[in-house]
Symmetry: C2
Amino acid sequence: MCQLLGMNCNTPTDVTFSFAGFAQRGGRTDHHADGWGIAFFEGAGVRQFVDVEPACSSRLADFVRNYPIQSRNVISHIRKATYGKVMLENCHPFVRELWGRYWVFAHNGDLHGYAPRLHAGFHPVGGTDSEQAFCWLMQELAKSHASLPPIDELTLTLRELAPRIARFGTFNFLLSNGEALWAHATTKLCYIVRQHPFNTAQLADEDLSVDFQQVTTATDRVAVIATTPLTRNETWIPFESGELKVFVDGAVR
Amino acid sequence: MCQLLGMNCNTPTDVTFSFAGFAQRGGRTDHHADGWGIAFFEGAGVRQFVDVEPACSSRLADFVRNYPIQSRNVISHIRKATYGKVMLENCHPFVRELWGRYWVFAHNGDLHGYAPRLHAGFHPVGGTDSEQAFCWLMQELAKSHASLPPIDELTLTLRELAPRIARFGTFNFLLSNGEALWAHATTKLCYIVRQHPFNTAQLADEDLSVDFQQVTTATDRVAVIATTPLTRNETWIPFESGELKVFVDGAVR
């Protein structure tokens, strides 16, 4: 099993605080030491960092922790290999292009006996069930819409598609096209929306706190989604099983 | 205009020496200061780093220079913007998936009035002529072969396709799927194959030399392809106009 971290904001924000705690779960405070990855949207562009080293000790993760990339949509993943070897091509998040936009996807959970018919333009490069699920989602989105539809239409389509994968097992996932971030839970996912008045948050996995009031303006709004709460002094809202939420501009749509 | 750097080897090799000199052309020894990028294959996986900062001063480029990623196929690019703004989505190299493999592409040159019909599964995310050319190449490869063909067949197809783009202007490009590296020149590209007995090479753009004998074994073979020679004491072989070469295991096929 793996862990997920997502961030969706109304203004470009760095994820260094959340990622600092999250990365500790990659081998130090938790056992997800089989690689990690993070993808940042910057406009329509994407920066993707993937690594087979444990996130807690990877030099690349150290660089990401100390290099505040400003982004409105971020997806990160730390991996505990179950299906698929510890190889770079099996590290999440995965990226594909559809309708002239990049799509970023990361998954937590195991799918059993999942072998979708991939007959169109999306095929997995690695050996994970997760990348198969992503390719199938992309294929079915492409079949459902001729070009990029509005966010609410995409959400409706994803609400139809997600259960068809979830019946094979655990399908907690994060998906973003840089405009919105979709989060689906079957077992474990929670979120928090931070907005004015901001408070001090204290990481659960590392002795680090930040007073968000010092680093934000009154109009900023940031949603953070994670497998389990990243802070110890805030109230995270759990997803219900089967729930798909879409985050836009730092709020639940 | 831009500059290209490629490396193809028979054993995983780090590109730090060549990249150290190449990155200086991104704003210091030359004027290509509108972003840069580099992609490394590791097995079937790809690590892609892109940045809108000048390569000579980018913190990310500094990380790449000092983090020896071992790879058999590397493509790098520094950009002088002509078509398309200085934005992350316009930084080369670009990555797409076809037949369950990643493909990496970077281009040097301007294409005039180039507006290919992109009717299939590959669409540009950014605004460059280069990404349009890449999408068209991917589309036409996908139409020409039902699944991944042998390298020599791909080379034949690319020899047919490249001139159909080159008629619109300057089309120097590097393309790799992790197995082979294709290089096409219309104006400026040169290469060198380093193999036993190895010598000392001295960078043209920075006061740095390396004795390859100290860091290689007798069976290593490395081809480096660049817009202009990266070293001052080696003989680089220029491409002829219209030439497409394919490099496999560090040698010209």
